[in-house]
Subunit: 335 residues, 2 copies
C-alpha cells in the first residue's frame, strides 16, 4: 500500500508539502495541491483519518443520537441524515440513547465527551437538564429534530397545530364524541405526545366539547391492544379517534375490523405521519416528511460546521392534511 | 479545558510518559499508569481520539453496513449491535448502502478505504464481486449477518431450512395448493429470498406437489398489494401461502380480510420472522431473533479485533416454529 512518502515522491514535493496539500492547508498553491491530489489518486493513496484529524482538528464525522431505531419516524429521519452526510463526504456515528438505560447514561457521560464528531444531531431526544447541559458543554454545533430547547437549533413540524387540524377535520364532519389515543403511559409525557394532546384539547375546547384521553403506547400493537379494549364497550365507544401517530391509528383500525366495527361508517380515525402503511389502510392523516426533516437537519448542521457559534434557528416544516377513507360524518349526522 | 500537559504536570511525569500511559502503551509501569489515570480523572481530561488512534493504530470504532434501515429486521439487528458495542466502549459508524445507489458506490470505493474502524459488520449486504473484493482488501475483520461468503465470518439462520419447515407445517395440515409469496421482483434474486424459495420448493417436491411462485416486494404494503390481486381471483386462489417474511405474510392477511376471505378457514398463511406485529395478527411463523443475531455478530467481531486473521466461522441460530391462528387444515380436508 502506498504511503505519503510515495505520493510526495511522485508529485516531486516534500512529505510535509504533500501532507499539507491533502489536508486542505492554505499554505499550498492550488497548482501544487492538484499535482499532489493527482499523485495520490494514481497511487490509490487514502490519508489516515487519524492523522488528518490531528492536522485539521476536524473528524469529518457527525454524531446522531436517537432514543430508538426501530420506529418508522426515526428510521426515515436517519435515512435522510445519512444520505445528506454521505453527499458531503461525512461519516455518521450512531448513538442509541434509549431512555432510562445504562447505555444512555454512558453516551452522555462518556461517549459524547470523547468528541469524535464535528457536530451532533439529536432526534426526538427529550434530554433532561443534566443531559442538555452535557450536550451544550461539548462545544460542538448541535441540531435537534423534534425536541425543544431555546439553546439548540431545531427542525420540526408544529405538533400542536397538526393535532389541532386533525381534530378540526373531525369536528367539521359533525363529530362531537372524539377521543385522543396515545401518550400518558410514561411520566412525564413525551414532549411530542404532550404537544399533540394540547392541539386536540384546544380544538375540542374551542368547539365546546369535553376532551377524552385514552392512554396508549406509541406503537401499532400498543394502539391495537388499547383499541380492542376501548372499542369493544359499545356504551363508551367514541364516534371518532385522533391518534397521536399513524402507528397507533392503524392499530385502532385493525382492532375495529376485528370487532366488526366498520371504518369510517361506525368509527372515524385520523392519524399524524403519513406512515408507509397509511395508504393501504386508507388512513386520513396529517402528513409529515421525516426524511426531509433528516435532510434539513443535516444540511443545517453541515452549514455551521467549523464556523463560530451561531444563534439557534428554528426550521418548521408544514404538516399537510390528506383525507382518505378512514373519516366520515358520524352515523347520527347521516340520518 | 485540561490538556495532556496539565495531566503530566499533576502526575509529575513528562508529557510523553503521560501520553503513553493513557494510550495503553506497555512501556509504562502500572504504578505510573495509575498515577496518570488518576490525574486525568481529577482534571476531567478526555484524550483526543485522533491522537489515541495515531498512537495505538486503533479507532475504537466499528463500521456497520446495511442496505436499508427502515425495516424491522435491520433495525433489530442494529439495536443488538449497538447495545453490544456500547458495552465494550466502542463507537458505531453506520453506512447505509442501498443497492444501486451512488451512495453505495461511494461507501465501497471511498468511505471504506479510509479505514475509520477497527472492524466491520455487514448486514444482509449481498455484495457483488467488486464490493466483496473491496471488503476483503481493507484488511480489517469483517462479520456478516445474513449474506454468504466463504471468506467472511457469518451469523445467520438457515433460511432454506426455515422455509422448508414452514411449508412442511402446511403440508402436514393437508394443504397441497400452496404458493410462495415474495422475491422475484429484482434480478438476481436477493440471496435470502432465493434460499427461502429453495426450502419451499424442496418441501413441495418431496411431497410431490408443483411449486407456485407469486413475486412480491419484501414489504407489508408490497405483500398487501400483490395479495389483493392474487386472492381476489377465486379460480386461482391457493389454500395456503408461505410468505418470504412476516411483513409480506401480514400484508396478505390484511388483504384477505379486505376481501372477506377468512383466515385460516379460507386461507392459511405462514411467515418467517416473528415480527413485532405477528402476535396481533395471530400469525404462525418461524421465529428468528434478529436482535440476538446483532449481538452475536458484534461479540464475534469484538473477539477478533486486534488479533491475527482468524479462519472465518459460521454461527447458525435456530428458527423456531410458532403456531398461532393463521394456519388450519384446508376446507376440503375438514369436510
Amino acid at each position: 500500500m502506498s504511503g505519503i512518502a510515495d505520493v510526495a515522491r511522485r508529485a516531486g514535493v516534500s512529505k510535509a508539502t504533500a501532507s499539507r496539500a491533502l489536508t486542505g492547508s492554505t499554505q499550498v498553491s492550488d497548482q501544487t495541491r492538484q499535482r499532489v491530489q493527482e499523485a495520490a489518486a494514481e497511487l490509490g493513496y487514502v490519508p489516515s483519518t487519524s492523522a488528518v484529524s490531528l492536522a485539521t482538528g476536524r473528524t469529518r464525522n457527525v454524531g446522531v443520537i436517537m432514543p430508538r431505531l426501530n420506529r418508522w419516524f426515526f428510521a426515515e429521519v436517519l435515512e435522510g441524515i445519512q444520505a445528506t452526510l454521505l453527499r458531503h463526504g461525512l461519516d455518521l456515528t450512531l448513538y442509541d440513547a434509549r431512555p432510562g438505560t445504562e447505555g444512555r447514561r454512558r453516551i452522555f457521560d462518556d461517549f459524547l465527551a470523547r468528541k469524535r464528531f464535528d457536530g451532533l444531531i439529536a432526534v426526538g431526544l427529550d434530554p433532561d437538564d443534566h443531559e442538555l447541559e452535557r450536550l451544550l458543554r461539548i462545544g460542538r454545533p448541535v441540531v435537534s429534530v423534534v425536541g425543544a430547547s431555546a439553546d439548540i437549533s431545531i427542525v420540526t413540524i408544529d405538533d400542536t397545530h397538526a393535532a389541532q387540524r386533525a381534530t378540526e377535520h373531525l369536528l367539521a364532519l359533525q363529530h362531537t364524541d372524539i377521543a385522543f389515543v396515545g401518550g400518558g403511559t410514561e411520566t412525564p409525557w413525551q414532549r411530542v405526545d404532550a404537544a399533540r394532546y394540547e392541539g386536540y384539547r384546544r380544538a375540542m375546547a374551542a368547539a365546546g366539547h369535553l376532551p377524552r384521553h385514552i392512554a396508549s403506547p406509541t406503537s401499532l400493537p400498543g394502539g391495537y391492544a388499547v383499541a380492542v379494549d376501548e372499542l369493544s364497550d359499545a356504551r363508551r365507544r367514541p364516534t371518532a379517534l385522533v391518534a397521536v401517530c399513524d402507528e397507533v391509528a392503524i392499530g385502532a383500525i385493525v382492532a375495529a375490523r376485528q370487532l366488526a366495527i366498520p371504518v369510517p361508517a361506525g368509527l372515524s380515525v385520523v392519524g399524524i405521519d403519513n406512515h408507509e402503511y397509511a395508504e393501504m389502510f386508507s388512513l386520513t392523516t396529517l402528513a409529515q416528511q421525516p426524511r426531509d426533516q433528516g435532510i434539513a437537519a443535516a444540511e443545517l448542521l453541515v452549514s455551521t460546521l467549523g464556523t463560530a457559534a451561531a444563534a439557534p434557528v428554528e426550521h418548521r416544516l408544514e404538516a399537510r392534511l390528506i383525507v382518505r377513507n378512514s373519516t366520515a360524518p358520524p352515523a347520527a349526522a347521516r340520518t
